[in-house]
Symmetry: C2
């Protein structure tokens, strides 16, 4: 019986992942860029135990059955294959942030699960392999493995589709001030959403421009050029939601408060605040700003109606073992 505990942060994408070249392998149709969100995390303990008749999952204090357990079991099956293990695992996990509301909980969950599972095996698994493995559980989990500012190449096979850091957490003092406008679990999760992407007449055009936006965003981050960064980040978010809203059937993740905040952020930037918005597959508005302006942004957000909560995250490190047994 061997055990390990790992923590991983969720990440917020600046260049979005939407749509798979292979749903089974979660190979994305376009490269993406993200930063990890410090302070928010999933913490997961994996115990490989020869006495277990099947994998078990305890999530936020509750023993899980059904779809949540099955998804973890499928992932552990893949991990076993790659690490040549035979035991089943006991998985105990909790998040310190709500799930399913636009903060990518599955990314942190599968990054932590993968790193804990590998750690508990006693094998030294390189970061790149951990990223590819995490990807099998949830595409964007590949990006929660490396630290700081992260790029995920599409690749064309399991081995070549991985994420890596291109700038350390302290490279640029960005802050994600997250306006929570709904705590409802979203109607259509990312995993069910990705397969709908090709049903939009606009997806091919979004994908065709993604490499250029990826380059522009990466260069803007490396040069700490906020104006360029803000323009491409908002545009990329709008493009993904344009695809979602024109899929068949359409996926609308924006709530009225979402739209109001997007307009407010554009106005604040025109007034001189260094802030831009981006949205994942959910209604909450991630206000990405320069650290000096984060307090202003938070104050202004609270003056808006429809805000349930405001969270703040700086740039986070990679997924890492907390201890190993």
């Amino acid at each position: 019986m061997t055990t390990a505990t790992a923590r991983a942060h969720p990440n917020i994408a600046f260049i979005k992942y939407w749509g798979n070249a292979s749903d089974a392998l979660r190979l994305p149709v376009n490269p993406s860029i993200s930063m990890n969100l410090d302070g928010l995390y999933a913490e997961t303990t994996v115990t490989w135990d020869e006495a277990l008749p099947a994998d078990t999952l305890r999530l936020n204090g509750k023993d899980e059955a059904g779809p949540a357990l099955e998804r973890v079991q499928r992932h552990l099956h893949a991990v076993r294959q790659h690490l040549r293990l035979t035991q089943y695992a006991r998985v105990v996990s909790h998040n310190n942030f709500p799930t399913g509301t636009g903060i990518a909980s599955s990314a942190a969950a599968f990054a932590a699960l993968t790193v804990a599972a590998a750690g508990a095996s006693g094998q030294a698994v390189p970061e790149r392999a951990l990223s590819t493995l995490a990807r099998l559980g949830s595409g964007s989990a590949a990006r929660s493995v490396p630290a700081g500012f992260v790029r995920w190449f599409t690749g064309d096979s399991h081995e070549t589709s991985y994420a890596e850091s291109f700038a350390a957490p302290d490279h640029w003092a960005l802050v994600d001030v997250i306006a929570i406008v709904s705590d409802q679990h979203k109607a259509t999760g990312s995993q069910e959403g990705h397969p709908t992407a090709p049903t939009s007449d606009l997806q091919a055009a979004r994908v065709a421009g993604a490499a250029a936006r990826f380059e522009l965003c990466q260069q803007a981050i490396l040069a700490r050029d906020f104006d360029t960064f803000a323009e491409v980040v908002e545009r990329d978010s709008n493009l993904m939601h344009a695809v979602m809203m024109t899929s068949r059937p359409p996926l609308f993740y924006w709530l009225p408060a979402t739209l109001a905040l997007m307009a407010a952020v554009r106005r604040w930037r025109a007034e001189g605040l260094r802030v831009c918005y981006t949205l994942d597959a959910g209604p909450n508005v991630h206000c990405i700003c320069i650290r000096e302006d984060a307090d202003q942004v938070r104050e202004r957000l609270w003056q808006h109606s429809g805000i349930l909560e405001v969270r703040r995250a700086t740039v986070g490190g990679g997924a890492a073992l907390v201890n190993a047994g």
Copy 2:
């Protein structure tokens, strides 16, 4: 001195016009479909007067100078060329509905202006020529010339880009229940918006699918097939706004109330009401419904917050002379 008065209705597009192949000639990049809105109208009197030193415009009781007058003068210049006239004109016009808030006021205005100007000339100008002429003043004005359900072919020259009726007003008892959520003049009018369309990465894909949506919509109207109609009308509206929101700079016409009403309309349809939404370049929500369901739709709209006014229009006739002097 000869005079004539014409009335024309605004129209609501089911397959949208967005983007020009020629801005000067207002040749659209895709074909479109609309219905005229009965009850709403522009009424315009044109007097060709040899004693006038220049064209004049009185709009809703106010003598106009500046951009509004200049746009009418440019249009009258084109009308003079096509009708081989030499006099200047006195134009007196009024709308019975507010301008610049998502009901296409310029369509009704330039259709009425064109028909009155031709009528006052004493020449018998065929409807097709009136439609092409009206198009020069405002693209969608081409569609306010013919009656009922109207299709506008792109054409590839001034003469070949015209609209014509493909079903009479009494063909299908559709009602446009218009939820007015803002009476502010929009920040970017259609005329300035069209040239921005190619700056969106998504416009080419929207245009590429337009002919298929045009066919589907036309067949649905001819067959009075509301389900097919609703799906393609909402999708086409979403596609146009997707292009707008991803233009550089982005154009956001939706207000929070707009988004809430769009979601409500989709919900009502799922519950069995025969209603769908479409939006022009503005925040107001056109709820297109079967006549039997229009009262229900109106009642439900009034239960929503953020509604300033609800208007109702059935299918209207074409632009026509009221009297000729």
